[in-house]
């Protein structure tokens, strides 16, 4: 396993470098941020001063070499917008996003397993129909709309929850409910589909014929085999959330990394953008390794293959 991990880390280094170089170059192609940071009537002298002060007058390669030199010393530069350390800003925002993503995905997976298995027990039965209606609806509702309706119903009309913000447990409910719905809907359908086919396999019949209880059949025999596709999809959905739930962060004033990245792009705050992208990229590589290890735990057949990879 350690050899496998080391190989994965080494093979991740190149894509990471490509991400950093790509973001660095693409961001600078969008133009000089001087006019965003100076008053509209700033003179050419002031624009030149700004450009020089922030090192933007240097050739791109020199800027990039400076940047990489800094990154190696864990110096990610300063925010143009706030004057703060760019890495500190990204590191402050990231936990807020991670907490939101982790809570959402744990809830989504647990709920989807329950509902999906329940639906798969009797394909086309009442439970199956109800769950397929709920899951399709959940996966199809636009989150922007849902967030606003949620605020309107639960914060304004009923007064049960705060509209937005991060203080108190109540503030978590609407953002999580909004984020939860789509992964939940998608996962229910995946779990249901793979459980239906797993439950019709010969080994299930064998298990039943040996007198295994229904609960044991479903959880121990069928679910274990049906879980791999759900893990793949749940992994993808988690990666999406770790990248920042921009809509939810924007509407609920959740100080996460998605909002930070969008603001840095709009404000041409290059250092912060680079730090945020690098941080999420590292997190996503780590997440992918975890997902691969999850496969190995679920399915013994995968282990030797991943260990050699």
């Amino acid at each position: 396993m350690l050899i496998y991990l080391r190989k994965r880390i080494i093979s991740s280094a190149l894509p990471l470098a490509v991400v950093i170089v790509g973001v660095f170059a693409l961001a600078r192609m969008t133009g000089n941020p001087a006019s965003l940071y100076l008053p509209l009537n700033a003179t050419q002298q002031m624009r030149d001063d700004f450009t020089a002060r922030n090192g933007l007058d240097q050739p791109l390669l020199v800027q990039m070499a400076d940047y990489f030199g800094g990154v190696l010393k864990l110096d990610f530069g300063q925010s143009l917008r706030t004057g703060q350390d760019a890495a500190a800003m990204a590191l402050r925002a990231f936990p807020a996003t991670l907490q939101l993503a982790a809570t959402t995905m744990v809830l989504a997976v647990v709920l989807a397993l329950l509902v999906g298995c329940w639906a798969a027990l009797k394909p086309n039965g009442v439970a199956d129909r109800i769950s397929s209606f709920i899951s399709m609806a959940a996966a199809s509702i636009p989150d922007f709309w849902l967030a606003i309706v949620g605020i309107w119903v639960f914060a304004i009309t009923l007064g049960w929850l705060p509209t937005s913000g991060v203080s108190g447990a109540g503030a978590w409910v609407l953002p999580i409910a909004t984020l939860l719905l789509r992964p939940f809907g998608v996962l229910v359908q995946i779990v249901r589909g793979s459980m239906v086919s797993a439950l019709s396999e010969p080994y299930i019949k064998l298990a039943r014929s040996r007198g295994a209880g229904e609960l044991r059949v479903v959880t121990h025999h069928a679910l274990r085999n049906a879980a791999a596709p759900a893990l793949t999809v749940a992994g993808d959905l988690t990666v999406g959330l770790v990248n920042g739930a921009v809509v939810v962060e924007t509407i609920f004033g959740w100080p996460g990394i998605g909002k930070l990245m969008i603001d840095s792009i709009l404000q041409r705050d290059f250092a912060v953008l680079q730090a945020a992208v690098l941080l999420t990229a590292v997190a996503i590589f780590a997440l992918n390794i975890l997902i691969d290890m999850g496969y190995a735990l679920l399915d013994a057949r995968v282990r030797p293959v991943t260990a050699k990879a």
Binding site: T30, P33, S35, L36, L38, P39, L40, N41, A42, T43, M46, D49, R53, R81, T82, G83, M89, R92, A93, A96, S135, M136, A137, A138, A139, S140, I141, L146, V149, G150, I151, W152, F154, A155, I156, L158, G159, W160, L161, P162, T163, S164, G165, S167, G168, A169, G170, A171, V173, L174, A177, F184, G185, Q189, T250, I251, F252, G253, P255, L266
Partner: protein
């Protein structure tokens, strides 16, 4: 697989599972929510802004997002402009006068202290000016009100300050009203995110990403404000800011839209912003004055104001609203006359102007409420006059490349939608930028027009007022760089527990000390 099924469900059917799921989760958090939604007391005023201030640096407080928290709350200037009367009033300076053509002398208030305990005096005032205007810090206020000009400042004694300008500057005190005074211990080599000032409130905490808390300062030289604290949060969606007022989570919400339908919880105020099209008169077809006149005639300003903005905005005939020195009250706007517009375009065409050449209507996305709808209406109305208009919606940074010099030169004529706010109260801040032939935001001018502007800039009193009034009339008559649309109205959300009347400067400087709890 899932998205294709969307149309099968009408919105009403989709709502229920969503609400059910939400209700399930809601049960756990309701007690916390109720305790947070407590009504305002005199202890803390809760304000919700559109964005987190990037910094609270005093020398950047001309930026709306910074100034709304800092100005006149944490820090104070020497003099301040009364937004209702337009007059300058004493603050940290008690009196001032021009002692020669280029020298202004200020008498400073005695017995004032900074929040760090050091005394306010002429030395601190001189330090503030040097730091903001004559240094390499690159303060935003420097470019905004002073340009490249350096000022010579001298602390004559503890309470006397002289400021010498390179050229005669009749509005120097007005310019200085943008400079928030800081103590001499403030860094001169780096900007300071949390400044110390002489104001009624000091910064207690800044919980980055979440909240700023100001707390009333006992050593303030003036009256103690009614609220012991001011808490600022920020939400970028105006509908959420509005919801926070309705649900009792905030007492004051900035920058609401007419769509938020606040009813009696919404208070209108003139925000000194004017919307206009700026026409690039150096390229066909806008290089013909008849075409530019046709653009003015083709726009149904009354219709736009009434249908898009519920009649809250005012039809504009010039770039500055009433209340700004130099506003020309006699100026009549262009009537909406489509036939006239068509015939002017036809006349120009008959004289060989290529009226079919494309005009790019350049608009900044989300710059103000309903801007997309407004842009579409303008495109349609100009097309009806016989012009070939292509709509370009751009984000801020791209839009700025069109807004300030040097302008892009690789496309046809541009009509740029601009939202101009004159927060200084003097037309010089408008015409120098928008109308001088070399102005940072001006496409063109004429030598005669430039001479009029220079003359008005150097004048004072009634001559100054008259000078600018003539300039606005002349632009509509002879230059026609602009097609004015409307003077805007801002909306502040305000809970019933707060007494406050917003004015034209509330968006830039929200004075907490002017607010009192409603009994």
């Amino acid at each position: 697989m899932t998205s294709s099924s969307t149309p099968l469900f009408p919105a009403s059917a989709v709502k229920w599972p969503a609400l059910a799921a939400g209700a399930l989760l809601a049960l756990s958090g309701c007690s916390v929510a109720n305790s947070e939604a407590a009504p305002a007391s005199a202890s803390a005023l809760r304000v919700v802004l559109g964005q987190e201030p990037p910094t609270l640096e005093a020398c950047e407080s001309n930026l709306t997002s910074t100034g709304v928290v800092v100005r006149s709350n944490v820090t104070e200037p020497l003099v301040e402009r009364n937004p209702q009367t337009g007059e300058l009033e004493p603050l940290l300076a008690t009196e001032w006068k021009a002692t020669s053509d280029t020298v202004w002398t200020f008498k400073l208030r005695e017995g004032v202290k900074f929040q760090d305990g050091t005394p306010f005096n002429a030395e601190a005032a001189a330090f503030t000016i040097n730091r903001a205007v004559n240094s390499k810090l690159g303060c935003n206020v420097e470019g905004y009100v002073f340009g490249d000009a350096d000022l010579k400042v001298k602390a004559v004694d503890d309470t006397t300050l002289t400021v010498t300008t390179p050229e005669p500057d009749p509005i120097l005190p007005l310019r200085l009203s943008f400079l928030e005074v800081v103590p001499t211990s403030t860094s001169t080599t780096a900007k300071v995110r949390e400044p110390v000032g002489t104001g009624p409130y000091k910064i207690e905490t800044w919980d980055a990403g979440q909240k700023i808390t100001l707390t009333s300062w006992d050593g303030y030289w003036g009256d103690k404000p009614a609220y012991a604290k001011a808490e600022y949060q920020w939400r970028s969606e105006s509908s959420v800011r509005a919801a926070m007022i309705t649900s009792g989570e905030a007492d004051v919400a900035m920058g609401l839209s007419p769509d938020d339908n606040m009813g009696e919880l919404g208070v209108d105020y003139p925000n000194n912003e004017t919307v206009a099209l700026r026409m690039e008169a150096t390229k066909a077809p806008l290089n013909d004055i008849r075409v530019r006149q046709a653009v003015n005639y083709a726009i149904d300003k009354e219709g736009i104001v009434n249908s898009l903005y519920q009649g809250k905005h005012k039809v504009a005939a010039q770039l500055v609203p009433e209340g700004i020195v130099g506003h020309n009250a006699d100026l009549k706007g262009w009537a909406f006359d489509l036939d006239k517009a068509k015939s002017l375009v036809a006349e120009a065409k008959a004289d060989g102007v290529d009226t079919s050449a494309q005009i790019s209507l350049v608009v900044r996305s989300a710059q103000f409420p309903k801007i997309t709808e407004l842009a579409q209406v303008l495109q349609e109305q100009l097309s009806q006059a016989g012009l070939n208009v292509k709509l370009k919606m751009l984000e801020t940074s791209q839009h700025l490349t069109y807004q300030v010099r040097p302008f892009p030169d690789d496309e046809g004529a541009v009509a740029l939608m601009t939202q101009h706010g004159n927060q200084a109260g003097d037309a010089a801040f408008t015409v120098d930028q928008y109308m001088l032939s070399t102005g940072a935001q001006s496409y063109f001018g004429t030598p005669e027009f430039d001479a009029m502007i220079k003359k008005a800039d150097a004048a004072s009193g009634d001559d100054r007022k008259k000078g600018f009034e003539d300039i606005f009339a002349y632009q509509n008559d002879k230059v026609v760089q602009f097609a004015h649309i409307s003077h805007q109205t801002g909306i502040i959300g305000k809970s019933k527990s707060v007494n406050y009347t917003p004015n034209s400067s509330s968006g830039d400087e929200l004075r907490v000390s002017e607010m009192t709890p409603a009994s």
